[in-house]
């Protein structure tokens, strides 16, 4: 009896321990043997919302989609200084013809060897050949309001007949099919003599169309696929890229496999200076892609993904505030342990800008009078970008002098923003001149208050806003941070109910127009991107010229004039250009970061044998704590057993005495 009680305590533990060591307990999260194959392991922090090429927009989505659904142009992977477009599905540079009424016609010619990947939506599941009609179909989908092309605003006023064509779609229909797709779209037309040529008709010149033709929205799309999958199309894109999507379990796993129908494509043979030395041209001329399979696993928690990376189960990761301390030594280099593991770290400036923005409609902080300007200029003078970058971003950023990031046309590395030097005395003087000496309202004696709205929920974000508050309060002005849930924050922004925010903009394409349009007067309105509600007719006039121009010295002059106007008004305080820090293991090569392009996975190469070896080496289970725990549990039961024995014996004796 007694032994059974004791045994119950120890046996299951022992059994577990034996089972563990015998099953060959492993922390490898993947199906057995998979890591030995030529698979590239990546992770999502959040699930792609949609992989419908017409709708999808975020970086996460583009990383997947851009290797499935390529476009007419692509960015040269290695030549990034400056970034440049090269032909991808197109065979030649588009021709541009001016029309009599000031418009423009662009004519595109596509490759003849393109095929969709094999898919059940095609007869016999064989991907069919692609013609210009599939490109035109993609443009029709862009106009279809039910789908929600994110850049509709850019085109609806410019592409001939867009609005009328869009209005003819039924919004209430079930599924994707609509008879309107059978009708011609006057803005995008086929060439009756050449099935591989199509034209886009614009009301006014739009040089940025080249960049649009490098985005996945303009990829050729198969009408069969769209109408076969309907709502499911968002999880089942069909394209002609190097990869095809073979399995996708939302919020779990997405697998891309090499597409057997992809047209021949080779690794670039030229790069920027230094690329050859960095080994980036070792695969020059080789057939793309260099990896058979790409697996995206969805790991929501950054702690989990970081640890998976350290165990060698993810090939790459981005560095964030949470894991920065672990990865970096105090000298700004990778920590010795990481170096020993062969981890490589890269920093790359993003084509983006973060800025402090005032709502120009605000009665206190908005407005265009000299006093109002002085108030905003004063805030600009106390904001210390470098300190912010060092403290809140672990040094990963560059102070911004103006909107445009380096590498873009119009970026001037010598430009110094007159109010972007830290000068607290001058700031105080400006505030006094604005009628608020000491940062106080003379009428009430109360301190001026800036309400900064944000959707800050993470600890890192709270640090950022804390620094902002401290910096601005050096002028005597009070800062209140109003933190709300993301949806409420966005609501406020859309309705223009905010006073001041810290916000960021990431380039859609590398053209200054994609930044300066953020202050265009016609872009101010509910849900429009001019969140400063900045209205300056002169700025708008220059913007309309700059928008329609090709790069030229004249365009540069106009851009500089716009900049000087906006700087004086200080509705925007340019703050910093962010950097992204990525890390990869020694078995991953061709890891150059591109500021715009998202199809870089085509070029990645994996040494899967090295990976398998390192994974084994780094992940041997540590058994002694388990055995120590079991030993301790059993040992602690021994005195109990002794007590039981004593009790039982005593009972027996006592019982004997009574009878």
């Amino acid at each position: 009896m007694m032994l059974r009680i004791k045994g119950l305590n120890g046996l299951p533990l022992l059994a577990t321990a034996i089972a563990l060591t015998h099953i060959g307990c492993t922390n490898n999260p993947y199906p057995a043997g998979e890591s030995k194959r030529n698979v590239h392991y990546l992770n999502f922090g959040e699930d792609p919302k949609s992989l419908d090429p017409t709708f999808s927009f975020t970086t996460v989505e583009s990383n997947v989609l851009d290797v499935i659904t390529p476009s007419y142009f692509r960015y040269h992977y290695l030549q990034q200084n400056p970034v440049r477009l090269v032909l991808n599905l197109g065979t030649k540079e588009p021709t541009r013809t001016r029309t009599a009424n000031g418009g423009e016609v662009w004519t595109f010619t596509v490759r003849k060897d393109l095929r969709f990947s094999n898919d059940v939506c095609f007869p016999d599941s064989k991907g069919r050949a692609i013609t210009a009609a599939d490109f035109i179909y993609a443009w029709k989908r862009m106009a279809d309001p039910k789908i929600g092309y994110p850049l509709t605003g850019v085109f609806e006023d410019n592409v001939i007949g867009w609005k009328e064509y869009a209005a003819a779609f039924s919004q209430d229909r079930k599924g994707m099919a609509d008879p309107n797709y059978d009708k011609p779209f006057p803005g995008v037309t086929a060439d009756p003599n050449d099935p591989y040529t199509f034209s886009i008709h614009l009301k006014r010149p739009y040089p940025q169309l080249r960049f649009i033709m490098a985005m996945h929205h303009t990829t050729p799309q198969a009408r069969e696929a769209v109408e076969h999958y309907n709502d499911e199309y968002a999880r089942h894109p069909v394209g002609c890229g190097a990869y095809k999507l073979t399995s996708y379990t939302p919020k779990q796993r997405l697998v891309l496999e090499r597409n057997e129908n992809a047209s021949p494509d080779i690794y670039p043979t030229e790069g920027d200076p230094g690329d050859r030395e960095a080994g980036l041209l070792a695969d020059a001329g080789k057939q793309l892609p260099l990896t058979d399979t790409i697996v995206f696993d969805m790991v929501r928690e950054s702690t989990s993904s970081w640890n998976l990376f350290l165990q060698g189960y993810l090939d790459e990761t981005t560095l964030n505030a949470n894991n920065f301390q672990q990865a970096m030594a105090s000298n700004g280099m990778l920590s010795p342990k990481m170096q020993e593991m062969g981890i490589e770290l890269r920093r790359a400036q993003q084509s983006a800008v973060y800025y402090i923005l005032f709502n120009m409609k605000d009665p206190l902080w908005g407005g265009y009078t000299p006093e109002k300007r002085k108030l905003r200029q004063a805030v600009s003078l106390v904001l210390d970008s470098q300190e912010f970058i060092d403290l809140a971003l672990q040094g990963n950023g560059t102070p911004a002098q103006w909107m445009l990031p380096a590498g873009l046309f119009g970026y001037d590395k010598d430009f110094k923003h007159p109010y972007r030097v830290v000068d607290i005395e001058r700031a105080k003087k400006l505030i006094a001149e604005a009628g608020y000496p000491g940062g106080k309202d003379p009428k009430t004696g109360e301190r001026l208050v800036i309400y900064i709205d944000c959707a800050a929920i993470t600890a890192a974000a709270r640090t950022q806003y804390g620094i902002l508050k401290r910096q601005i309060e050096r002028t005597g002005i009070k800062v209140e941070i109003r933190s709300t849930p993301g949806s409420i924050f966005r609501d406020k922004l859309i309705k223009g109910e905010h006073q001041c925010i810290l916000y960021g903009w990431f380039a859609d394409y590398p053209d200054p127009e994609n930044f300066v349009f953020l202050l265009y007067g016609l872009n101010a309105g509910p849900g429009k991107p001019n969140y400063a509600w900045y209205q300056n007719p002169e700025y708008d006039k220059l913007f309309e010229k700059v928008r329609d121009m090709d790069d030229s010295p004249e365009r540069l002059t106009l851009l500089n004039q716009m900049r000087d106007m906006a700087v004086e008004d200080s509705a925007w305080i340019p703050f910093y250009h962010p950097e992204v820090v990525t890390m990869s293991h020694s078995w991953v090569t061709n890891t150059k970061v591109h500021p715009i392009a998202r199809d870089v996975l085509l070029y990645r190469k994996i040494d899967n044998n090295l990976r398998a070896q390192k994974q084994l080496e780094w992940n041997k289970p540590v058994w002694w704590p388990l055995f120590a725990f079991i030993g301790l549990s059993i040992a602690s039961a021994i005195p109990a057993a002794i007590v039981v024995r004593r009790r039982v014996n005593r009972k027996l004796r006592a019982g004997g005495g009574a009878s």
Partner: protein, 313 residues
């Protein structure tokens, strides 16, 4: 018995209606249909027409009373519809998620119940001795730790430092054991202390009963008293306590599933809450309520079955 069950089922209807109405008001009290539409549309600024189109497509443009009525009727008919965010069929997703959740949470459940009974019996048998005291101290310590710490700390020690199981992932095809080992151990450690304390109380209640004294007086051995008489009677409150949570095992654990990437219903709800996916949240809350009510009815029935003193009519 049948009448009792029927009556309880009828009583469940107002509860369900109340929960559905409350969820609806809580959701739309904090977020407007427009902001939900924007969240689910592209990350770029959607045009007002797109926003209105989305709202119309999802039926959030109708008057609140109509929406509420329709939502309630649909739920009661088990027509969960499609997710606002991903357009996936919610039923399909619930069916897929139930498996992984059940596997993990029932492993934890069974382990915890049996483990707790075992330790509680020991503690009760050696009441007042160092074994009982140590158990109490350890239990109080375990109960004082926040659940999040168990999850993060457990993952750190068991998966990262000791490497007993994957930090993340779930693939039944390549062996369930390795994926559920660490999450189960964490769930076990986090839940067992409360149960031990509770079961110990149940056991002590029985130990002080007259029939125990009688048995002792008759010379029945201490082990036999404990195993045959005390435990059997103490099982009544234990069973009724545990039956209530059984249906809820399907729902899994929010945090545990989220951290270990287990594609169960816990992480499904977590995700839906994060993305303002009202149709999913509504369906999951409804399901949760339903299972809870079902659990309570089961408890009453279990009482009638195991405790001869209780009669239901």
């Amino acid at each position: 018995m049948l009448r009792f069950i029927l009556r309880r089922l009828l009583q469940a209807i107002p509860t369900l209606l109340g929960v559905l109405t409350l969820t609806w008001f809580l959701f739309f009290g904090t977020a407007s249909a427009e902001s939900i539409a924007r969240r689910n549309l592209s990350s770029k600024d959607p045009t007002p027409a797109q926003v209105q189109g989305w709202i119309k497509e999802h039926g959030y443009d109708q008057p609140p009373a109509v929406q509420l009525r329709k939502a309630t009727v649909d739920m009661l008919m088990f027509k969960f519809g499609k997710s606002d965010a991903t357009k996936e069929d919610i039923w399909t997703r619930i069916r897929q998620g139930a498996g992984p959740s059940i596997v993990v949470s029932s492993t934890i459940f069974i382990g915890t119940v049996f483990g707790a009974i075992l330790v509680a019996v020991l503690a009760a048998a050696f009441r007042g001795t160092y074994i009982d005291k140590t158990t109490t101290i350890v239990c109080v310590l375990l109960m004082s730790v926040v659940y999040t710490v168990y999850v993060i700390g457990g993952q750190y020690f068991l998966s990262k430092q000791l490497r007993y199981g994957p930090i993340w992932g779930f693939d039944p095809a390549s062996g369930l054991f390795k994926y559920i080992l660490v999450p189960s151990a964490i769930g076990f450690a986090a839940g067992i202390a409360t149960e031990i304390r509770l079961y110990r109380t149940f056991l002590l209640d029985e130990i002080s009963q007259d029939y125990v004294r009688t048995a002792r007086a008759k010379g029945v051995s201490e082990t036999r008293i404990l195993a045959q008489h005390v435990l059997k009677n103490a099982l009544i409150p234990i069973i009724t306590n545990t039956v209530a949570v059984i249906p809820g095992l399907i729902l899994g654990g929010l945090l545990l599933e989220n951290f270990f990437g287990i594609p169960g219903l816990g992480s499904y709800l977590f995700e839906a809450l994060g993305s303002n996916d009202f149709s999913v949240v509504r369906a999951m809350v409804f399901l949760g309520t339903l299972l809870y009510i079902f659990g309570l009815i089961m408890t009453d029935i279990a009482y009638a079955i195991v405790d001869p003193r209780v009669r239901i009519d």
